[in-house]
């Protein structure tokens, strides 16, 4: 009731604003939608452009963009707003394990039978499918990869080549360090950035142990005891112990990492490939110098890319404007929606909607991804898309391992403990 009144009031206020601004043009039948996105300049720019294009195509619908914090603070906010029935009409949120944790069956509108589902690539559908088998979301962004950004200028200067194995990577780092540059950029001021060495290593885990994800979900495989899985933590510790990090790694933030990479102060930055958008926006002059490669494993022939499914857009069941909300979601999952995103943020990776194309002049960090997706290339999804369990304290644990506070094996064991809590909370069998 209160909610309705509040909505009515906001609607009225917005209506009044329209009246004063446009002297009464087309406000009689307009529908107001709210669209919740994570904060951050590139998210904002992309959402603005998508909404602008959508409103141009649907003049009777007005979309207000709301922002929320990212990371675990944002997870909490989304859960709370869903539980209290105060969610925005449409919202952008992670797919995969985080999607499973927001109780999709209860809170999200079933989108299985929407006509645009025919154009969504099959690989995306499982990661927004509720436990009852219904599809509750649409892909909102381009697919991403977890791996290592590198500065091509630094590589050229020092005569290095892209490493295929971990040993080659460490040898490159040694040369970069000897040349007086930062070999590996780490930015624990934003704790989430510390997880990459562990998360992006999953292709290598899967290559060694193809059943790892299902055994992990069934409480049979552990990070601490599975040697392949433990390697991710060990890699983080090795790079720290070798002194490859920037001096201020404990306090630097993601934005600092982007800057150091673009300026060539640092040679490698392990990150999700969505950073290409931020790089292109903030350092357009340097974007041609930045390349990307998959996190190397121990054997060259097993080298492959760990892929992240894009975030999804979802409709809250509490929405009073279901038809308008469905139109917005359909627009985002259409070639026009992809084009609007590319226009605003540049290309950052392949879209998962048939008919969406990338412009011919993509930055090298994007074209470096394409061979992994092409024939003969090797890629596989990250663990959080194969298993509903992701422990919430991973970022603190990887900060500890990467700062030399806790050894890799201890960190992995602690993470197993964290995973157990999450699995119990989700009510999975076998825990």
């Amino acid at each position: 009731m209160l909610n309705k009144t509040a909505k009515l009031l906001t609607g009225l206020a917005a209506g009044l604003l329209t009246v004063t601004a446009l002297s009464g043009a087309a406000f009689a039948q307009s529908v107001n939608l709210t669209y919740l996105i994570p904060s951050g300049p590139e998210n904002q720019v992309i959402a603005d452009e998508v909404v602008k294009a959508f409103e141009a195509a649907n003049p009777d619908i007005n979309v207000d963009i709301e922002t929320r914090p990212g990371g675990s603070e944002g997870d909490n906010l989304v859960k709370t707003r869903l539980a209290t029935g105060a969610m925005a009409d449409v919202f952008l949120y992670n797919s995969g394990s985080l999607f499973q944790a927001i109780n999709p069956q209860q809170f999200l509108v079933d989108l299985t039978n929407e006509p645009w589902q025919a154009d969504v690539q099959a690989s995306f559908k499982p990661v927004v499918t509720a436990p009852d088998g219904t599809i509750r979301g649409a892909p909102a962004r381009a697919a991403m990869a977890g791996g290592i950004y590198y500065n091509k200028k630094v590589y050229e200067e020092l005569g290095l080549s892209v490493p295929k194995t971990w040993a080659e990577f460490m040898a490159n780092n040694e040369k970069i360090k000897a040349a007086g540059k930062v070999a590996v950029i780490q930015t624990y001021g934003d704790t989430w950035t510390s997880q990459l060495f562990v998360l992006a290593d999953f292709y290598n885990v899967q290559a060694k142990d193809p059943q790892f994800a299902s055994r992990y979900t069934a409480n049979e495989a552990k990070f601490a005891t599975d040697p392949a899985a433990l390697r991710g933590f060990e890699k983080l510790q090795e790079t720290h112990d070798a002194g490859f990090f920037n001096e201020d790694f404990g306090a630097a933030k993601y934005d600092d990492g982007i800057r150091m990479l673009a300026a060539g102060e640092g040679a490698h930055y392990p990150m999700l490939s969505f950073a290409t958008t931020a790089l292109a926006q903030a350092y357009p002059d340097n974007i041609q110098d930045i390349g990307f490669f998959a996190q190397p494993g121990d054997e060259a022939e097993l080298n492959g890319l760990t892929v992240w499914m894009p975030d999804g857009v979802y409709i809250a069941q509490t929405t009073p404007n279901l038809d308008a909300a469905k139109k917005l979601v359909a627009f985002i999952a259409s070639p026009e929606g992809c084009d609007a995103q590319t226009r605003a943020g540049g290309a950052s990776g392949p879209y998962l909607i048939n008919g969406c194309t990338l412009p011919a002049d993509v930055p090298p960090a994007v074209s470096d991804l394409l061979p992994y997706f092409a024939e003969g290339g090797q890629n596989g999804p990250a663990l959080e898309f194969l298993s509903p369990i992701k422990g919430p304290a991973l970022e603190q644990i990887t900060v500890e391992v990467g700062s030399g506070i806790r050894p890799a094996a201890d960190g992995a064991a602690l993470y197993d403990e964290d995973v157990r809590k999450q699995a119990q909370q989700l009510g999975l069998p076998g825990w």
Binding site: S72, E73, D75, N76, K79, T80, A83, A101, N103, Q106, Y188, T191, E247, D248, G250, A251, P392, A393, Q396, I397, V399, E400, S403, I405, R406, L414, E417, K421, Q422, Q424, Q425, G427
Partner: protein, 303 residues
Amino acid sequence: MTALSEAGSAISHGGGRAIRRSPYPGWFFLPAALVYGILFLAPTLASLYFSLTRWTLFNSTFIGLDNFAQFFREPFLVQGLVNTVIYAVVTSGLKVVLGMLLALLLTSAVMARGYLRSVVFFPVLVSTVGVGITFTVLMHPTQGMINEALALLGVKGPGWLVDPKLALLSVALVDVWKGVGLATVIYIAGIVAIPKDYYEAARIDGATKWQNFLYVTLPLSRPATATVITLSFIGGLRTFDLIWAMTRGGPGFSSDTIASVIYKQYQAGFYGLSTAGNVVLFILIAILVVPLTMLLNRRQGHE
């Protein structure tokens, strides 16, 4: 009128045993009781129940004491408990010492006393989160003003908030900077309230300044000390905002306090576990603070 005053005298003479008759009718307390019951009692009882469940906000499964077992099993939760006590002891200790010293200075005939008093009190008025963010910038290991100033003196400053050994103490120091003004004000009030006769008597006995302080000011400002210790100790035990603004419990878990650990469990969606944590926090504060206040007040009574 006579009946009322008789009742009044009955109360004053009857001692603790007699049933006290309130001059107000029962319904007079109803609004307050309702507010208290709905907003305080009911949630407290509900939280006791939910701390025994695995709770997802929509449904809960009763799991007995598992949450508490979980809470104490995890290394970083126990570390959080230890940190909480360290933090409370360090901040309240420093606030007592510094607050007393500042109050002595600011009750003496120092120049620009009014101005200095407001300067000392000013940080109390600033938003904690604002203070936290400002100091995070100042304490940046390479670009922060503190370490740049130290570098000018040829000293390599430590990573105030990034060194796991230092992070908690750095935050505690900022807490002291922000909170010492309040302690000072309480002490000023306490010291000013000491009758001048004592000092005159001491002077006649030929007491030195140090003896003046030790045998007059210090014992007679014990009520102020009790207030400062209790307030800052409880404040230190349940501290959250400053730690969250500055380190979020990091690096890793090294500056986690029990409140930040609880908040992280809540963020992660472990609502039952975080409620159990709150129950633990409640009990911890009660265990530490009740004897502390009893001790402080008893001594005060003997004076």
